[in-house]
Every structure is written in structure tokens, then in C-alpha cells.
Amino acid sequence: MVAITKGVAAPRPRRGRFSRLSENRTVLGAGFLLPAAAILLVFLTYPLGLGVWLGFTDTQIGRPGVFVGLENYQDLWQDTVFWLSVTNTLIYTIGASVLKFALGLWLALILNEKLPFKAFFRAIVLLPWVVPTVLSAIAFWWIYDAQFSIISWLLMRLGLIHQPINFLGDPNAARASVIAANVWRGIPFVAITLLAGLQTISPSLYEAATLDGASGWQRFRSITLPMLTPIIAVVMTFSVLFTFTDFQLIYVLTRGGPVNATHLMATLSFQRAIPGGHLGEGAAIAVAMIPFLLGAVMFSYFGLQRRRWQQGGRD
């Protein structure tokens, strides 16, 4: 070892390929992403891709299908029950989302005020969201029962009506009833998230506005609403997506009845694919939901995202 010449740097030991790769930022980044990408691929991309593919086949339960192109979609185009389910889904989504937003915002504004037992009320508000959907659906099933509805019973006791309300028997009443149940269940999500947004608004803005003589409505219109818009965009996007794809509530309450008046695209897709055995057609109905969902996401993204002026620039 004395042969090492003084003043000449010792050659660096040759590092292994793995060692070099493990220090490469790109490789490391890809490595860390891999598990998440694999999970997305297996549990999201593959089922979605399979669903889209099934929609182009005539697959039935227990029988592999063949590619039929757009045949399923052509059939659906002429299927009145499908179009009824599209109409129902739009009414259900728009009706429930508007109500959830209005009532949720109202509730958030109340909970943002100085209230006694504020923490308790905030916890209580979350209850409908915490209860499993099937349980709340069963509760509503009793509330809307044609013979044993507590609402009908109460109104009859008060002498306001003489026979039980046909909540789920009349098509329009059934639509309103399932929307009401969805609103009850969905309000907490909207209210609590908007409440979180409200608490990020600096009180000094309100103080300054008050000093300038702004009324309550002006403060809401010019401070609360603009500052809350980004949160509203996120909350309502999720709310619309959840509502549009709702299944359990309808399945428990009405199975899509009466006479398909409450069939949503999700419930019709299930009915045709699983109990009916026509997987291809069921998948096509599910795929037909995607443009609507994409439309909702795009609307929220372009329409309600943070404007430049909110970040100090011009709109």
C-alpha cells in the first residue's frame, strides 16, 4: 500500500449502478410515485377502462360479449326509460345541489357567528353526514311510508290533512321526497366546509367595511362571497359529483319507482347490468354519465375558480 504516490488523489471507489440510480432525483421521484401510480392504475384506470370497453360490447352475466360498437348507445338513444333517468338525474342533481348550497351556506353563516355552545352545534350538524347512507335512507323510508309516515300522522293529528301523504307514490312527490332526503344528508358537508372557508376570511376586512358604512348584505356580497368562491367551487364540485352518482338512497327508498319516476342513471345502470344481466348496456349507461360529470367539473373549474383579482391582479 506504500505504492500510493503522495499528492495523487486516490481513485474514488467505483459505485454500483443501483447506488447511482438511488441518488438520481428523477429516478427517485419516479420510484416514490410508483406505488401510488400502481394503485391508481389497478383500482381506477383499469375498472374505468373496462367499464368503457364493456359499454361497446354485448356482454351478459356469465357470457363474454363481442364488440358491438355504438349499438348499446344507439339503443339507449331510443330508450324512453333511459331518457327519463337522465331527466331525473338532472332534476335530482340540480335541485339537491342548489338547496344544499343555499341551506349549507346559511347554516355556515349562522355557525360562524358568536353562539353559545358553538362547538356542540357544529358537532351536531355533522351527524347526518356521519350516519351511513343506508341507515338514513331506511329512516326516510319510514318517514315517507305510505301508511305509517310520522309527517302524515302529525298533520292528520293536527287536522291539516285527512289521509296520509303519498310521498313515494306520486311521481313528482317522489322526486321531491328523494331530493329532500339527499339534501338532509348532504348539508353538513357543504356547511362545515364553507364554515372552514369563512374562518379564513380576515375580520379586518369586515371591520374596514363596517367603518366605511357597508351594510350586512354589502359585506356579504363584496367580502364573504368573493373570498369564499374558491371553496364554494371545490365544495360544489364534490357535492354535484356525489349527488349525480347517488345510488343507495334511491335503491333503498324506491328502487327507481314509482314507474321509474325516481330512477337515476346510476340505479338504472345497476338494474340493467346486475339483476337484468346485461352488463354491456349497464356499462353504457354508466359511461353516459361521464360527459355530464366532466361538464360539472369544467363548469366549476372555469366558472368558479380563484380569480386573479383575488390574488392581487386584475380579473
Partner: protein
């Protein structure tokens, strides 16, 4: 739930070994016999069944399973699913090739994936020869291309359940046997403040049973023998007109009824007549508070219409073995054991007339004569007509039923959304989507 020999020895062991052992010695066939069912060594089985409507029925099936385990050492785990979840879960198991070894399925499920089910023709023929033959209706549901792809296990009968005193008050000493007198009775009951109630909603069982009875009792049918859609016919229009007249005597809200609503309304004395399985009667009998009501319950078969025949849909359940099972012979041995006389007799009896035999020799079960309310359910397997009559069973018949085409046709007309002609035309259009191929 799984049962091992150890479980048997523990707890209720004395009972099982003592009382059951004697029966086993006399009644259990040798496991390897003429059809060569020799269970695989180390076999264990998993079976999924529908959640019971009659508790004693489930208990007896489990007791019979214990007997099987005691005799063979083969453990059988039995899982339960809500009866409406059976169809999707069986379909998924068949499609992915994984799940329980055996399953109780409904209606034409075996026709949807016959290739995924074990051919049990030899076993079925053996049981048929030994027990007087299979009834045609249940046999159709469990067969594909003249081969058994399952064993028809039971027919869940459906019959009129009514309040005897109210029918008498309405001026009828006997319950009417034909559709026209039945309508008169319903009008009279309505006038006395005791409306009737039949399901016009998306009730898988009650909704379909009622709609098919309306159609078939008037001579209508969804398709002909060749699978051509024939629902838009004068007979159907007549059936719809009859349904509209009958609907006027109903309690409000039946268009939203699912499967449990009629029982609930009947047990709460809100309605005087429903069509249901015998479970409505036994629910009343089991509740001391409803003793008076239970004593006032009568039952009879659905009235016969212009078709002149006593024909109904009924729910049929078959026991199938999936081809993917590792233990096909153990599964067949299990079914053969359960269909053998000691077990099947006890099970039918414990079912309290809810499960009607599919093998003719079991028709002498004492349960049918032990209570007059049970009697109308005794011939369910004999008088049932299969779904999609008069066409073939298959994906089209299953699809039409799952889409509630018939149920909706009547509901649209009785609620005034469509005229009888429009409702029949719409049902025709909807059915054609399934039968066009």
C-alpha cells in the same frame, strides 16, 4: 357460520349426537354409491343462502348441516345475504370464478350463467327417481339444455291472506274463487272501510307476483313459444282494465310499495287482503300482541280468471354448485344429503309452509295439513308458471323482469299516467329491446 365436529361435541353435542345419530344410521345413504359421489379428502364447503324469513327454517337447515358434518367430517360454512343481493352476488361469483362453493339462487339465475355451474344431472335424476320426480316448473328454472345445472330447492308460495271476519262482514261467507267475484268482494271491503292492497311498486317478489297474476289470469302473455313479444294483446288490455278497477279498492300509496309494505300494512290492520308468502301469518302468530289478528287470518289461492287456470309466478330458489369449486363431489354429497328424506322432511316442516317441496314425494309433509292457513301454499310447485311464459327462460326473460316491464305497465295504467292501450304498447316496446335477438 361454520360447524366442526368439535362444535358439535361441545355445547349442544349431546342433543345432536343422541337424537340425530339414530336418524343418521337409518336414513343417510352411503356417500359413495351408484352415481359415484365420493367427497374429496380434506374437503370443506362454503354455501351462501338468502337471509331467512322463517327463523325455524334456517335453524333446521343448520341442524341438518351439522348432521352432514357429523357423518362426513366435512365442514360447511353457511353465509347469508339479503335475498335481493343474492342475484348480483351469485353473478359476480360466477363471472370472476371465486366465492362460495354452493349458492341458493333465484328464478332464472342458473340460465344466465349455465356454463359456470356444475352439471348435476346424474344427482338430480337419482333424487327424482327416488322421490317421485321433480315438479316441472322448478325443474325448468334449474335446467339448461335438458341438463340440470342446479337442484330446485323450494318454491316460495304466494297466496291471498285475508281477514276472515271482515270478509264475512262484507257479505261473503266464502272467499271468492274467480276474478269477477273477487273484484266485488274488494269493492264491498272498501265500502266497509277495509281497503285491500297489492304491490304496484318495484317490489321484486310481490310486485312481480301480482303483475304476472293479473296478466296470466286474463290469458295474456309476454311472449309466445318462439320468443315473439305478444304483450300488446286484447287479453292484456282486459287485464289492465281489471287492474284499474281493482286499484280503486286499494289503500292509497301501493304504487310505492316494495316487498315489505303489504305485510306491514296488513299486520297493522290497515288492509284487509294482501297477496304474500305465509310469513305474514307466522309473523302475526309469533307476536302475542297480534294473537287476535292471527286467529282471524284466512288464506286461499289467487282467484282464477278467464284463463280458467290456477297459474302464478312464485319465487323459485335453486341450489347451484359453481364449477370453480375445489370440492365438487363434496358439494354434491352435501346436496344429496340435504335432499334426502330425513333432512328434507324436517326442513320443509320447519319452514312452516314457506318453502314448498320441489320433489313430488314430499307433498305428504304434515305441515300442509297442520294448519288450514298453510294449505294454499302446498301446491305452489305444481301450479307455478315460469317467468317469461310462454317463451324460453334466459337473459331476455330475466332482463324483462329485472326492468319491471310488467309491473310498470300496470302501474302506469292504474295511476292514470297512460291509457291501457298506451301502457301495453310501451310494455311491448320495452320487452322488444330484450327479445329482439
Amino acid at each position: 357460520m361454520s360447524f366442526t365436529r368439535r362444535d358439535l361435541v361441545r355445547g349442544t353435542a349431546g342433543l345432536a349426537v343422541g337424537a340425530v345419530g339414530a336418524k343418521l344410521l337409518g336414513g343417510t345413504p352411503a356417500l359413495a354409491d351408484e352415481v359415484g359421489i365420493e367427497p374429496e379428502k380434506g374437503a370443506s364447503l362454503r354455501m351462501t343462502r338468502w337471509s331467512p324469513f322463517i327463523g325455524a327454517e334456517e335453524k333446521q337447515w343448520l341442524d341438518n348441516t351439522k348432521r352432514f358434518t357429523a357423518a362426513t367430517g366435512i365442514e360447511v360454512r353457511i353465509d347469508k345475504e339479503s335475498w335481493e343481493d343474492i342475484r348480483p352476488k351469485a353473478a359476480v361469483a360466477a363471472n370472476v370464478g371465486s366465492g362460495p362453493d354452493l349458492m341458493w339462487v333465484w328464478f332464472d339465475d342458473p340460465q344466465q350463467y349455465p356454463d359456470k355451474l356444475l352439471d348435476v344431472t346424474d344427482l338430480a335424476n337419482e333424487l327424482g327417481v327416488k322421490h317421485g320426480g321433480w315438479y316441472d316448473g322448478p325443474k325448468s328454472y334449474a335446467s339448461s339444455n335438458n341438463r340440470f345445472v342446479g337442484l330446485p330447492l323450494a318454491t316460495i308460495g304466494n297466496a291471498i291472506i285475508y281477514r276472515k271476519s271482515w270478509v264475512k262482514d262484507a257479505g261473503f261467507s266464502d272467499f271468492p274463487k274467480d276474478t269477477e267475484s273477487f273484484l266485488e268482494l274488494c269493492k264491498a271491503l272498501q265500502a266497509k272501510g277495509h281497503p285491500v292492497g297489492f304491490t304496484h311498486g318495484h317490489g321484486v317478489g310481490d310486485g312481480n307476483n301480482y303483475a304476472h297474476w293479473l296478466l296470466w289470469s286474463h290469458g295474456g302473455k309476454m311472449v309466445d313459444e318462439g320468443g315473439n313479444v305478444t304483450i300488446n294483446s286484447p287479453e292484456t288490455i282486459e287485464a289492465i282494465n281489471y287492474a284499474m278497477a281493482l286499484y280503486k279498492t286499494f289503500i292509497p300509496g301501493t304504487e310505492s310499495w316494495l316487498d315489505v309494505n303489504n305485510n306491514r300494512a296488513f299486520l297493522a290492520s290497515q288492509v284487509s287482503v294482501i297477496a304474500n308468502g305465509v310469513s305474514a301469518y307466522y309473523a302475526a302468530k309469533a307476536d302475542p300482541k297480534l294473537a287476535e289478528l292471527a286467529a282471524d287470518i284466512g288464506s286461499t289461492n289467487m282467484p282464477v280468471g278467464k284463463s280458467g287456470k290456477d297459474v302464478e309466478l312464485y319465487q323459485v330458489t335453486s341450489a347451484v354448485i359453481f364449477k370453480y369449486t375445489k370440492y365438487p363431489k363434496a358439494a354434491m354429497a352435501y346436496l344429496r344429503f340435504m335432499f334426502d328424506k330425513p333432512q328434507m322432511d324436517d326442513w320443509i316442516k320447519a319452514s312452516s309452509a314457506y318453502c314448498c317441496q320441489t320433489l313430488k314425494s314430499y307433498a305428504d309433509n304434515p305441515i300442509w295439513t297442520s294448519d288450514p292457513v298453510n294449505r294454499p301454499y302446498a301446491r305452489a310447485s305444481e301450479t307455478l308458471r315460469v317467468n317469461g311464459y310462454a317463451g324460453p327462460l334466459g337473459s331476455a326473460s330475466a332482463g324483462v323482469m329485472a326492468d319491471y316491464v310488467l309491473v310498470d305497465m300496470f302501474a302506469e295504467a292504474v295511476t292514470g299516467q297512460r291509457s291501457p292501450e298506451q301502457a301495453a304498447k310501451r310494455a311491448e316496446d320495452r320487452a322488444r329491446r330484450y327479445y329482439r335477438a
